[in-house]
């Protein structure tokens, strides 16, 4: 077994990454009929007991969340079953610096972050890849639902939507560089979730029926407001004064709120004001702490600007390009014209106005199944 064939699989203890590991360790042989040498790695990212018992965060973390001891146990059991070497790698400091802290800061600045994308960009496909290469694995594999192919004509690695559209995770992967794509395998890209569970059963993985995790891994119970308050208290930082006015689109003050971090654009519940027609958060102004609320129709936006761009299927954006733009995880991509609008900035103008364009979320641009690239909505 030559070193260059060693593949490090990122194992979270869930069905997807466990099955990805099984496919590589047990499944199809390489072109030359040699087996892959597979090493399992679990990233220890966050101590789930760290904020336990403060601000109403439960004492005992439940399973199905990254880095809970149960999940590390599950990942290790799978590695034992597959008879592959397995290690837990501590990335807690990096994770806090590059994912958790920015997550808190984004909310405090009135934006709505996607920590999973930050984690992919800074931890999984950066630090994990470095660790993998340090230990002699030139490639990594993950359990993401995405397809990754090299296109000879363009001389570029192309990221594409997977067979299982409902599980498509390309939205979270728009930050991958060409070098990262060249070194990454997505063994589940051509499979549907039911097929993955079938494969898990076939390989004898005892976690084949384990439920999917949905929430943000480091936020217990999904209550990010409590998490932010507990985190700031632990850091010895006074929560910044974030209370302010709730205003109508006309500027009329219609109420007060206790903090802009409690709001996200498009939010309907928990506004604290009553009205004949349903009200939604339309805008959050971090400077004045003013939260504008209005009717659903006012949420519609014709265009967006994105920064910190990363291009995948094209070397750079130089001219107006027709794309379908996706502005949040569950958003159905909508036709737009994409054009450069400044240094490291692009503007997408939608054919039809889109609801709740939210600063802090990713904007990912598609050409058919291909990811053209993406950036962060400002």
């Amino acid at each position: 077994m030559s070193e260059s064939k060693t593949i490090a699989v990122a194992m979270s203890g869930g069905v997807d990454s466990s099955t990805a590991a099984a496919i590589l360790a047990r499944g199809s042989a390489c072109a030359d009929n040699s087996k892959n040498a597979v090493v399992g790695l679990t990233l220890q990212l966050w101590d789930q007991m760290r904020l336990a018992g403060t601000h109403g965060i439960p004492d005992a973390p439940k399973a199905g969340r990254c880095c809970s001891l149960d999940d590390v146990y599950d990942a290790r059991r799978v590695a034992e079953h597959l008879e592959i070497p397995y290690y837990v790698v501590n990335q807690e400091e990096r994770f806090e610096r590059d994912v958790v802290r920015p997550f808190v800061d984004e909310y405090l600045a009135g934006r709505t972050p996607i920590p999973c994308s930050h984690c992919n960009n800074h931890i999984k496909f950066d630090q994990l890849l470095k660790t993998a290469r340090s230990i002699g694995a030139e490639r990594i594999a993950t359990g993401h639902y995405a397809v990754n192919e090299f296109d000879e004509k363009r001389g570029r690695w192309i990221l594409k939507r997977p067979a299982d559209r409902a599980k498509d995770q390309t939205y979270f992967l728009f930050g991958l560089t060409q070098d990262q794509l060249a070194r990454t395998l997505f063994p589940l890209g051509q499979m549907t979730k039911p097929e993955v569970r079938d494969a898990a059963r076939k390989y004898g993985l005892m976690l084949a029926e384990k439920p999917d995790s949905q929430e943000i891994c480091f936020v217990p119970g999904g209550d990010y407001k409590r998490f932010i308050e507990a985190y700031l208290e632990e850091q010895g930082e006074a929560a910044p004064e974030m209370a302010g006015e709730l205003v109508a689109p006309t500027g009329e003050v219609i109420g007060q709120h206790t903090g802009i971090h409690n709001f996200t654009v498009g939010q309907r519940k928990g506004l604290g004001v009553s009205s004949a027609a349903p009200l939604y958060v339309i805008n959050i102004d971090p400077a004045s702490h003013r939260v504008t609320v209005g009717a659903d129709a006012e949420l519609a936006t014709r265009s967006l600007r994105a920064r910190q761009l990363n291009w995948i299927s094209i070397p750079d954006l130089t001219e107006p390009t027709r794309v379908k733009a996706k502005i949040r995880h569950r958003h159905e991509p909508a036709w737009a014209t994409l054009e450069p609008s400044g240094a490291d900035e692009a503007m997408a103008t939608f054919d039809e106005p889109q609801r709740a364009v939210t600063p802090g979320q990713g904007a990912v641009f598609y050409d058919g199944d291909e990811v053209v690239g993406g950036g962060w909505i400002v």
């Binding site: 590390v72 290690y87 501590n90 470095k130 340090s134 230990i135 002699g136």
Partner: protein
């Protein structure tokens, strides 16, 4: 692939003689040592024989040997069994977590706890222990001092004899966590001047899950486990007869190793290994040079991440350790190295090599072949990550 095990301070394999000594006590001689009948008598005889060996090993009377489950139990028993609210417990910041976490617990129960810091070379200055003792406590409650004989991560040997004298002068009780020193240096609890001394079988080629504690006659240590009247009422629970037999054999063999030149050979190979690794640029030894256990060296690699290096070496057949395992199994920077003044990155960039007494020249050759390559590969990939200089 050739595999070389350089993690003897984590655990050691049974020597064949130990395995053979234990063999009859699983099935044939299975008796309970407390039973009156012949089965019990055979088990009792085996335990008594091991006790005689351990008494020689410690340099104490047979009645002063208490068998238990290992180092953690010994450390816990010394601390929980001796100090109460209002007492003073003096220990060091470089102890094993079996002492440190027990210290945290008694502190929460009202015991006054002092952690003495080591010098940069990893040595605890006995005068710092003396300064920590409080006259007021001497008059009233108890003072317990607990210091390790040899540090598990650096191998640095502490000046236990001097600390023993200080304890005697001040009327303090003195416990030695000798888990890492046992079998590696000459042993004499009278010379050490301690009241209590804990050892573990599996660090000296004995079985896991068994250990022993020297308890000086008259030391008022309360048992951790209560129940039957085993071990002179000092440790309840049916004796682990095969384990105790294995410990006895391991102790006997380790006394021979100190006499027959084995440990001198280990020291020579450790020195060769260390010198070879130090030829890699940007490396240095953590912990004092001379006063160390023969098998251990702790080396700092600039611009290398210890955790990745441990994995890379493992995949190339060299088993070493870096830092201490945290709850999930990943590594946290060593509290020992940080107490010695290394920053987090430097502590993370340090590896412990601890050799078995069966180590050979070929083993050392293999390690010296693999380590420089792995370090170079790591540094070439990520010059910017971790491991800044000290």
């Amino acid at each position: 692939m050739r595999r070389v095990y350089c993690d003897a301070n984590a655990t050691t394999p049974l020597l064949p003689e130990v395995m053979e000594a234990m063999r009859p006590y699983w099935m044939e001689e299975f008796g309970n040592a407390s039973s009156i009948h012949l089965h019990g008598q055979k088990a009792r005889k085996a335990v008594d024989h091991a006790r005689e060996t351990l008494a020689k090993f410690f340099g104490c009377r047979e009645a002063e040997v208490v068998f238990n489950s290992g180092g953690t139990e010994g450390d816990n028993t010394a601390i929980f069994g001796l100090v109460r609210a209002g007492d003073h417990f003096i220990t060091t910041s470089i102890e094993h977590s079996a002492v440190l976490r027990a210290a945290d617990r008694v502190a929460a129960r009202g015991v006054d706890v002092t952690f003495v810091e080591p010098r940069k070379d990893g040595l605890i200055d006995p005068e710092e222990i003396r300064r920590a003792i409080r006259p007021a406590t001497q008059a009233g409650g108890r003072t317990l001092i607990s210091v390790m004989l040899a540090n598990n991560e650096t191998g640095v040997l502490q000046s236990v004899e001097e600390i023993g004298k200080i304890a005697a002068e001040s009327g303090a009780f003195f416990h030695i966590d000798a888990v890492q020193g046992a079998g590696k240096i000459a042993f004499d609890v009278r010379r050490f001047g301690c009241h209590l001394c804990s050892i573990s079988a599996h660090k000296m080629h004995g079985p896991k899950g068994v250990g022993a504690m020297y308890v000086r006659r008259g030391t008022p240590v309360e048992p951790l486990m209560v129940g039957g009247s085993h071990e002179r009422r000092q440790r309840a629970g049916t004796e682990n007869v095969p384990g105790i037999v294995g410990l006895g054999k391991a102790a006997e063999l380790s006394m021979e190793s100190l006499e027959d030149g084995t440990m001198a050979r280990v020291a020579r190979l450790r020195n060769r290994l260390e010198a070879g690794i130090l030829e890699i640029p940007g490396t240095g030894v953590n912990g004092t040079g001379e006063s160390r256990t023969a098998n251990t060296t702790n080396i700092h690699f600039e611009n290398a991440e210890g955790e990745a290096l441990v994995i890379a070496l493992d995949l190339k057949g060299v088993a070493v350790s870096g830092g201490s395992a945290c709850h999930s199994g990943s590594t946290e920077p060593s509290h020992v190295l940080m107490a010695m003044g290394l920053d987090k990155n430097a502590a993370r960039a340090s590896l412990r090599f601890s050799l078995l007494k069966t180590v050979t020249d070929e083993d050392v050759n293999h390690v010296l072949h693999v380590v420089p390559q792995a370090v170079e590969h790591l540094r070439a990939l990520a010059p910017e990550t971790a491991g800044t200089s000290r």
